[in-house]
């Protein structure tokens, strides 16, 4: 098996297992509590408004927005890690049909693997530090790598089907 396929298949399996562990940990220890806090803070905002305690109401609304910001990213990380891992394994199985040289295919595989790790990592770091430039930069860099690797792979598949392709 070529090294590009090894990178994709082993990287993909490891990332899928990691994503599942993260999801299991999140479901067991974080999600229920987060959802309770999410619903509780929104309800508190409304109850405080009904009691005409408007500063408390606004504070609860701010809390709701912050928890929701984290919740969206925590769930996104789980689905993106596993989704990207599956994509890597599928490409690993079909990468011999990409009509590029071995070294180019290796760099494409490496870019996809790094992107698949870094992009969700940047997203989850955004929930650790709201508005962090480093986290956003990681997410943008990771998603850029994934998109470039995908475009290159699509081109490689197209070259294979074309006359004169591999």
């Amino acid at each position: 098996m070529s090294r590009d396929r090894k990178v994709l298949i082993f990287g993909g399996l490891a990332l899928a297992a990691f994503g599942m562990f993260y999801g299991l940990h999140y479901a067991l220890f974080v999600e229920h509590q987060t959802l309770d806090q999410l619903g509780g803070s929104l309800a508190t905002a409304f109850v405080s408004a009904a009691e005409r305690k408007l500063p408390e109401s606004r504070a609860a609304l701010d809390r709701y927005a912050a928890i929701r910001y984290d919740y969206v990213r925590q769930v996104d990380v789980h689905s993106h890690w596993i989704g990207l891992a599956m994509l890597m394994i599928v490409f690993g199985a079909a990468f011999d049909r990409v009509a590029f040289s071995g070294s180019i295919k290796f760099w494409i595989a490496l870019a996809l693997t790094i992107g698949a790790i870094v992009f969700p990592l940047g997203v989850i770091l955004q929930s650790v530090s709201h508005g962090s430039a480093l986290a956003s930069a990681l997410a943008i860099l990771g998603s850029g790598l994934v998109i470039m690797a995908l475009a290159a792979t699509a081109l490689g598949f197209a070259r294979q089907g074309a006359p004169g392709g591999a």
Binding site: F10, A50, S57, V90, R97
Partner: protein
């Protein structure tokens, strides 16, 4: 539908009750089941649930106006129940189809898993058990709740779902271990491979220069699938850059205006509840378009690997491929258009989903015919 002869390498690559066959059939069945569930949810639950949530939110704002905190709490209990109902059904759909994708992925790498055939078969059965119980557990969370649970926040249905998820992790870990042994050149790997025979037909993990060239169906699904995934990622990047933060800020503002209106100008509360509902719908269709186009792209790529097990003539195989790619494009595009065009677009999106389900069932029927032919030939051999 005319058929063609089944070559002996294909028999070697798809033996009866092998892990590969279990995972292919189980995977396609899980994906088809998850998609049918998603269609039923979209038609019969999604919009009705959204309407009830809006009514409950309006009741909460009226309770704020009436300075009645108890009524607010009741409205939020109702909203919580509606959100849980919706969320668990979405998760059921997602986890059932994703378990199907993983099953197909595992089928692809089975010939490189250096474990004995009975162990691989056992792992395949465990995976399919986990993949079936996980969505069932998630579906039941809303209905079982915390009844008879020894834990304060986790009910029996959650325990079932989490246990099934843990089972999937155990199987995946064992498969990775088998792959590791294969690439380390363990003796059992060689034995396992010789048991299976030569390269499994249609399994690119074991492709060699002697394998036949990819067929039109395989190339269309692989290339089309990659383009769909690429489109999905480009759209996701655009969504994250343009809409994600704006929608989060807008949600915060709408809720703030809604509460201000409930206290000071109650007549305007309804407008803000409508705005909140529109924002929720906008967010839902944009995320659904992103996730569905990527999932269908992955599905198309996965199905390219099992085309040689689809025992139908070329015309029918192409029809199912075209139908699948067409539906894979129609569904996300018209889901995205739903807010701009209205419910007609939603109906067309549902038809797109139906096309994918029909194509999947058509391919599954072809694979069942293939395995039946293989088993008949195997039985006829001395």
């Amino acid at each position: 539908m005319a058929t063609k002869a089944v070559s002996s390498p294909m028999i070697a690559g798809f033996p009866a009750m092998s892990a590969q066959r279990l995972l292919v059939f189980g995977g396609v069945a899980l994906i088809a089941g998850g998609m049918i569930f998603g269609e039923i949810f979209a038609v019969f639950v999604l919009h009705q649930n959204g309407g009830k949530t809006g009514e409950a939110l309006l009741a909460a704002t009226k309770a704020v106006t009436a300075q009645n905190p108890e009524a607010v709490k009741q409205a939020f209990v109702s909203i919580g129940g509606l959100l849980e109902d919706r969320g668990t059904k979405v998760d059921t759909h997602v986890h059932m189809t994703d378990a199907g994708y993983l099953a197909l992925l595992l089928a692809l790498v089975q010939s490189s898993v250096a474990l004995s055939a009975p162990r691989k078969r056992f792992l395949a059965k465990l995976f399919l058990l986990g993949g079936t119980l996980l969505p069932i557990g998630i579906f039941l969370i809303h209905y079982v709740g915390l009844a008879y649970s020894p834990f304060p926040v986790i009910g029996w249905a959650s325990i079932l779902a989490d246990s099934a998820g843990a089972l999937l992790i155990v199987v995946l870990t064992a498969e990775v271990w088998g792959l590791w042994r294969h690439f380390r050149g363990q003796p059992e790997a060689v034995a396992s491979m010789s048991h299976v025979g030569t390269a499994a037909a249609g399994c690119p993990a074991e492709r060699s220069s002697a394998d036949p060239a990819p067929t039109w169906e395989e190339r269309a699904l692989l290339g089309g699938g990659t383009v769909l995934v690429l489109l999905g990622f480009l759209y996701g990047a655009w969504y994250a850059g343009k809409n994600l933060y704006e929608q989060e800020a807008r949600e915060r503002n709408i809720l703030s205006f809604m509460l201000d209106a409930a206290v000071k100008t109650p007549d305007l509360s309804g407008q803000f509840v409508n705005s909140y509902g529109m924002l929720a719908a906008e967010r839902a269709v944009q995320i659904a378009a992103h996730s569905h186009i990527i999932e269908f792209g992955l599905l198309a790529m996965l199905l390219s690997f099992v085309q040689r097990y689809v025992f139908l003539n070329a015309v029918w195989k192409r029809r199912w491929v075209v139908l699948l790619l067409l539906g894979s494009l129609i569904l996300p595009v018209f889901v995205w258009l739903e807010l701009k065009v209205g419910l007609v677009a939603g109906g067309i999106a549902d038809v797109g989903g139906l096309l994918v389900v029909i194509a999947l069932i058509g391919m599954l029927a072809g694979m069942l015919r293939y395995s039946g032919s293989v088993d008949a030939l195997r039985g006829a051999q001395p």
